[in-house]
Structures are given as C-alpha cells and as structure tokens.
C-alpha cells in the first residue's frame, strides 16, 4: 500500500532501531497520548525492544475507554427504547456501563448497528424512515469533523429521523488536567498523529512550554514511531524541549481549517465527563442549538444517570502513570479483560489490559 508500506520497510526501520538503542542518555518517561499509538507500538513489538531508561505509559487518548459509565448507561438505555435503533463504531460494542454493555442490549433485542462511518448511520436512517436512528458519537478531533459533516448533510437533505448523541471529546484539555497534578512525572508526549492532522502540530506548543515537555507528533508506522522515540529521548537528553513533527505527510503546523469550520458550525465547547478522570471543563463538544433537532440528548430528553465510578478503581492514577495496575484493588479480581471496569482495562492495549494479558515478563 503506497504511503504506508515505505514507512514499514525494514530497511528504513532497522537503522532506527540501532539509533534508538543509543538515543537514551537520560532516563525518561513518555506518555502515549493516543490509543492508536499504544496499539501501533504494541503491534510492532516495539515495547520489547525499548532501550533501558525509556518508559512508556498509556494516556487518555482512547475514546471508548474514556467514555464515562454514565454515558454508557445512557447509550444502553437509548438502545433499549422501542422505535429507536443505535448505530455505533465497533469499538463501543463491548464497553461496559454499570449494568452491562451494548452487546448485552443487542442480545435482549435492542437494535444495534455497527458501522464504519457516521454517514453509514445516516444511510440507515434514510432507509428506515419509521425508526429513530441515533448515532452514538465518541471520538476525538479526527472523528468529530466527520460527525459534524454528517449532521450538516442530514440538515441539508432534511432527514428527520437521524440524531447524534455527542460525547465527543477534545485534546489537549485532558492533558492539561493530568499535567496540572504535580505528582505526575512525565518528560514527554508522543502526540497523536491524526488528531494533529486536524488541530495542527502547533496546538501542542503551549503545553510543551508550560510543563517543559518534549513533544513529538508521530505517525503510526514502524519508522515513524522509532524516529519519534529517538527524538523524544534526544530532546530530554539535551534538555532541548520543543514540538517536533515527524508526520509532515499528514500533519501541518496549522491543521485542517476546512474541517475546523465544519465542526464549528455544528458544535460548541462543553464540559465533559471522562471515565477515570471525572469532569473536565471545556473538554467536550455539544451540538449547537441551531441543530438541536439532530441532538439526541435534547430531542429524546435524556437525563444522564448518576453512575458512580466503582469504588477502588484507580484508573485516574494509572492514566497519570502514578500507580501500576497491581496496586489497584480491583485489578484481576473484579476488573479483568472479560469484565473491564475502568478505561485502562477497557482498552485492549491499555495499561491494565496489557499487564493482565501479558504480565510483566513481556
């Protein structure tokens, strides 16, 4: 596949592996902001060849994992409503609320359609005019513009039975929330590639300066990841902190203004609940009043149930890299990959899921 395979080429990656071995001159701890980076690093087997002194911790950038239990409960109760069918990304199917998941709702008769694109959900609405179709919106800035464009299309084509339940979240608000805790000790951020495509590499600059964090915007292929880790190690080693962009084929400093315009037309900033992190101000998006007919929360009069985070769940601390999974009382007892409680276990490569599946002897 063009523009993909070249970056996975062993001849490009091998020299970088060698270079990485020598790049760490000062021990450093890097947070992988983006869940897809955690997955890509895992898939490439990079964790097993990290040089000593370099530690990677998983951050809050996995959209389904940070969907709060009360949002999941609301999603599920929506799916259970007669006359309603919900359309979701596959990622959401098994995420648990306080009383089960959408998979379980589907098993008791709820109509749950798994789609690849929010536009496919709109298609379902058009093909089923007598049902209300609700697209359960999760995702960060990469996904939000597509959802916005879908709502705009629904508006322009006068589709009356399509809605979105928006739990869209934004970067870098949660990073600010994590980093403002002085107990958090990280030296750098592996910045999300496709989110940065939309928001621009420059978005990370204020964070880098305020918290003295090495920042590298990275792609997802082997060579991209290796190069990014090398540059992070060098920034920390030389105490030369800045934002570097290793993904120029997809990311510019300013970002995608066309996408930003579409988002701005449909959405406005809102406070949002994050699983494991609580309510973070201005970290989410809600549909503007002008498009209220597409807002499931408004049109279906949804009251968010008060779902308490289970007692003992230490995901907040684990996301901050301040605790390890084994220190959590729920780890491997009530919380495991088959029955995950917090985002660190919900994500198939989250910190807790990784510990649970592979142990520490990886």
């Amino acid at each position: 596949m063009k523009y993909l395979d070249e970056y996975r080429d062993v001849s490009l990656a091998r020299p970088l592996v060698e270079e990485l071995k020598n790049a760490v001159t000062k021990p450093l701890r890097i947070m992988e902001v983006c869940g897809s980076h955690t997955m890509a690093i895992f898939r490439n087997g990079l964790r097993s060849i990290l040089p000593p002194g370099m530690e990677l911790v998983s951050g809050p950038g996995c959209p389904v994992c940070v969907t709060s239990a009360s949002h999941m409960d609301a999603f599920i109760s929506m799916a259970d409503r007669p006359g309603v069918r919900v359309a979701i990304f596959g990622d959401l199917f098994r995420v648990p609320g306080t009383k089960g998941s959408l998979a379980e709702a589907s098993s008791r008769g709820a109509k749950v359609d798994i789609v690849y694109s929010p536009m496919d959900a709109l298609d379902i609405a058009v093909k089923n005019p007598h049902e209300l179709v609700v697209f359960l919106g999760v995702g960060f800035e990469t996904t939000t513009p597509g959802i916005a464009a879908t709502i705009l299309t629904a508006h322009n084509t006068k589709v009356r039975n399509f809605m979105v339940f928006s739990t869209q979240k934004t970067m870098p608000a949660p990073m600010e929330a994590l980093l403002s805790d002085p107990a958090l000790k990280i030296d750098g951020l592996l910045c999300p590639g496709h989110v940065s495509s939309i928001i621009g590499a420059g978005t990370w600059e204020p964070l880098a300066r305020k918290y003295n964090l090495a920042c590298v915007v990275s792609g997802f292929e082997t060579a991209d990841l290796l190069k990014s880790l090398i540059l992070l190690a060098r920034q920390v080693g030389n105490n030369d902190i800045k934002v570097e962009n290793v993904y120029p084929r997809a990311v510019s400093w300013e970002g995608n203004s066309r996408a930003a315009k579409v988002v701005d037309e449909i959405f406005e900033a809102a406070d949002m609940d994050w699983r494991g992190l609580g309510r973070i101000p201005s970290s989410g998006l809600k549909i503007r009043e002008k498009y209220a007919e597409f807002d499931a929360e408004v049109r279906l009069d949804i009251k968010l149930p008060e779902a308490k985070e289970p007692k003992g769940c230490m995901c907040g601390n684990i996301l901050k890299g301040m605790s390890t999974p084994r220190e959590c009382p729920l780890f491997a007892t009530r919380c495991n990959t088959a029955n995950p409680i917090g985002p660190c276990m919900v994500s198939s490569e989250g910190t807790c899921a990784a510990y649970y599946k592979y142990g520490r002897d990886e």
Binding site: V10, R14, V17, G45, S48, I49, P63, F89, G90, D123
Partner: protein
C-alpha cells in the same frame, strides 16, 4: 412444487414435506442411500476407527462471494474429518428453515450442496428438515454431521505437537472472515474479496502419503482465526509457538480491507485453510507437498513450536521485536481507534 416460499407445512412430515424432499432434495442429492428415504442410513462398516464430527452453520449473508451456506457446510464438515487424518465417507444434512424463506434460494443452496458433495466425492446419505414460524429463525440454519475412517497408523492431535516442529499454513489468511464482514451494511468495501471455502481432504491425503508419521497436528483455523487456533494448540501441547510476521501469507486486498477497518487478519475466519504442524526436519518437504496441490498453492512456513510457557503464541516483528498473540475474546469488530 408450486410454492414460492417455505411454509410451515413443509416441516410437518406430511405430504408437503414429502413433496419438498422429492422435488428438491432428491432431485439434486442423488445417491441410493438417500433415495431409500428410511429413518436411518445403514452403512457398511469397515475395520478400524471411525471419526465422527458435527457442525452447524448460521452464516449471514447466506450467499457471499466465493460460496454460500450450503457449500460452507459441506466443506466445513469434510475438513473437520480431514483434520484428524480421516478419509471422509458420508454426511448428514439437517435443515431448519424459516417460514417464508424463498424456494428459489433454497434450491440454489441445495444445488450448491450437491455440487460440493460431488466434487469432494462425499455424499449426503441422510437428512432432516424442520420449519419454524417466521421470525423464529433466520432464513436457513444447516447442521452437517460427518463420518470418516481413520487408518491404523494415523494419530493426529494437537497434543502431539513437539518442540522443534514447524507450523505451516496452507494458504492466505482471513479471506473468508473479511468477505463476510464486508458484506454487512455499513461496512461495505468493494473489490476482489472472496471466501476461501474449500475441502481439504485431498491436501491432507497428499501430506499423509508423503510424510507418514511426520504430520503431528492438523487444524483448520475457522472462527477466531489462526491466532485462536494456535493458542489452542500451544495449550494442548504444553509448548509455545513463535511466528514470523513477515511469513504470514495475506492477499493484498485482504490486508488493505483490514487496514481500513481496523481488523487483524490473524483473527479472521478461514474456511479452506489448514495449519499443519510437522517434524521440523520435514518442513520444506511438507511445504513442497502442499504447494503442489491446488488447495495449498500459497502455503507457507509461518513458525515453529518452542519450549516455553504453555499456551503462549508470540509473533516476531520485522524490526526484531516480539509481541504476544492472545486468543480472541469474542467476534472481531471493525474499529476506528
């Protein structure tokens, strides 16, 4: 037979049932034993051990590029027999039909079953049909059971895999799984994606003829894919399995579709492939034998059995890293993250 759809009467055992059997099943499933229409088929026994297997098929959609539910059922049961080194002998065919199911679709499936049986040389000798009310089934469910004969010196089992054995895969991964997945509304992708459904008993016969004693384990990686099946083998044998990422055979179209949808070919179903675990020293010969067959033309050596934690499957990545491949918890789903 004038009806255009299946009616409850067709499952009642009365004249309507008999008419369905005569006009459809016996028309295409043509062998003496079935035509005698007794309550049981009496088979001539032979000395030795019998292999017996059963499988049910509920795939949706029932027609897909490369095959249909009928063909899948015949191949699937033949393959289960072949994976123990049995020579398939005969099949049973149990159908559960939903009231309202289109007769012409049923006919297509029966024709397909008939062709698959003829091509494989394995007949359906007994069958049954039931009809459930509309809404209580999903068009058609099929159960096939199969009987095969296992020669005296054959002992093929997951437990027999030994340290140092090589792992071979008879062809490309994930073809069936991705084809079914992309036929679903909302996940559509166009292109040359086809199920690989195919009977493997001739491939197995070739391996057993050329390498008697060296074929330790045969498994067909259906649901859960190669990853799940190899995890089972690793657990049963008490060993670890090391795979090489670069050696996994995948069609470019399958790979591209998986990249787009966030799916892993290792976890996608295969319906015409087998994993063979053979003596390490015979790996190249086994590969040559497989590649000389039409079923195994894309065969590859993908890994080996090593001492280590029981049940562990590891992939070595091209850059020299390694990752553990865990079995799937449930169905693979497309993702955006």
């Amino acid at each position: 037979m004038g009806e255009k759809t299946i009616l409850l009467d067709h499952g009642s055992g009365g004249l309507a049932s008999q008419q369905l059997i005569a006009d459809l099943f016996l028309k295409y499933l043509d062998n003496k034993t079935l035509h005698s229409l007794e309550d049981s088929a009496i088979l001539q026994n032979r000395r030795g051990r019998l292999a017996f297997t059963t499988d049910s098929y509920v795939v949706d959609p029932i027609f897909f590029p490369g095959g249909d539910i009928g063909k899948l059922a015949v191949h699937g049961t033949i393959n289960d027999l072949a994976m123990r080194g049995a020579v398939p002998y005969c099949l049973s065919l149990g159908l559960i039909l939903e009231e309202g199911f289109a007769m012409d679709e049923l006919e297509k499936i029966i024709v397909s079953i008939s062709e698959a049986c003829k091509e494989a040389g394995v007949p359906v000798v007994t069958g049954d049909t039931k009809v459930v009310p509309r809404g209580k089934g999903d068009k058609i469910f099929i159960n096939t059971s199969g009987i095969g004969f296992v020669a005296k010196d054959i002992d093929i089992s997951s437990k027999n895999a030994k340290e140092g054995d090589a792992v071979l895969l008879s062809g490309t991964m994930g073809d069936h799984g991705i084809t079914i997945m992309t036929r679903r509304a909302g996940i559509a992708v166009q292109g040359d994606l086809q199920s690989d459904t195919m009977p493997l008993h001739n491939l197995v016969a070739a391996l057993l003829a050329e390498l008697p004693g060296d074929i330790h384990t045969l498994r067909d990686p259906t649901r859960g894919g190669v990853a799940t099946t190899l995890n089972e083998v690793a657990t049963a044998s008490g060993l670890s399995i090391e795979l090489s990422d670069e050696s996994l055979p995948i069609r470019p179209q399958v790979r591209a579709a998986c990249e787009l949808l966030g799916l892993e070919p290792l976890y996608l179903a295969n319906e015409g492939k087998c994993l063979a675990i053979v003596s390490g020293s015979q790996a190249e010969k086994a590969l040559a034998v497989m590649r000389a067959t039409k079923e195994g033309k894309d065969a590859a050596i993908i890994g080996r059995l090593v001492a280590g934690r029981s049940g562990r499957v590891i992939i070595n990545t091209p850059v020299g890293g390694a990752r553990v491949v865990t079995p799937l918890h449930g169905m693979p789903l497309p993702r955006i993250c």
